[in-house]
Symmetry: C2
Subunit: 190 residues, 2 copies
Amino acid sequence: MHPQLRAYFRQHLAAFTDTQLAALQLPLTTRKLQRHEVLQQQGEPAHYGAFVAHGCLRSYVTDDKGKEHVLQFAPENWWISDQQGLVYHRPAMLSIDAIEEAEVVLFDANFYQQMRQQSPEFQQLFYLLLQNSMAAMQRRLISVLSATAEQRYHDFLQLYPMLAQRLPQYQIAAYLGITPESLSRIRREL
Amino acid sequence: MHPQLRAYFRQHLAAFTDTQLAALQLPLTTRKLQRHEVLQQQGEPAHYGAFVAHGCLRSYVTDDKGKEHVLQFAPENWWISDQQGLVYHRPAMLSIDAIEEAEVVLFDANFYQQMRQQSPEFQQLFYLLLQNSMAAMQRRLISVLSATAEQRYHDFLQLYPMLAQRLPQYQIAAYLGITPESLSRIRREL
DNA sequence: CGTGGAGTTGAATACGATCAACACCGGTGG
DNA sequence: CCACCGGTGTTGATCGTATTCAACTCCACG
């Protein structure tokens, strides 16, 4: 198992030692990604989800007008996948690619089941993760529905100051749901 | 247990008979709600989530300008709650009230734990439900980010034709993130 | 060098919000 | 039975925020 992932599990699963974790039989493969390399294409079968060991990925959709909308940024120690596509073996609704050169640990559709078999603690962990993503997405939906572009940008700066540094502006714009031009104008007022 | 809830579990949990379900010790209480009766106030401690036996509830937030934004409609056989508030014993981010006169089955913060103890099938069921809500919320976020008000309204009609009949227009507008006036104008073009 | 991606700026445009007035309808009480 | 009322929905005029399209700068990288 990738050391970064082992460390992650150690931190989130009290009941395991490094040795126990190393002994786990999980269907995981490590892979390096170039900048802009695509892990998954919207519309194609979803083969893998990923744990990001380092670098940064994003999930996004491309609408009919060709505009990209970012759903999630995934820097180190985040998980990213098209859950629905993986679980139900349906075409992915999301594309996933690397914003920076990255190293990821890939898992497939059986991963969740196999983890459950090895320990119910994993299931608990993944339930919590899902719950947190859900809460985050809820907050985001509310903010898109109720706040102006400027407020949303400031919220983003508050919430992810590191990402705001790291990411190109047009990616942030695609996350906030505004054009790069609008974001540029917002930033001018500072 | 409320017969509507028992029927629901029977449908979603293959392994249980009615007798077994009736024997389960779950902390559930049934309650009737008047139209507009508030089950939970944004900012106050989250005591209960609800399974809707009949009628229709909604969860929503009120922003600083006093505008309401609907997160979810919950007609018969839907679950509705402020997950985060319940689980982490934090103030609720959402308000929940009854759009129509309703009958609900309330559950508290321990519900999930107690269900797990009685059978892992419950955990599985709730994981799936959570996954589905997540997917729905994702689709909605994408549609708010990428589609016009008109497109979103048509999507809503497609997805929830029944609800569109049942609900007052201004509730639908609050769900779509537009004003009642705008929705009225959109409907004129038909 | 020079080429292309990222960011900025300006002018015109579009979409939805706001504000105000009014129509419609169901219920309540005189 | 009718008058009144509040809640819901409609319509019009105006306004504001963000988009679009185009041009231009800057800079990293070949």
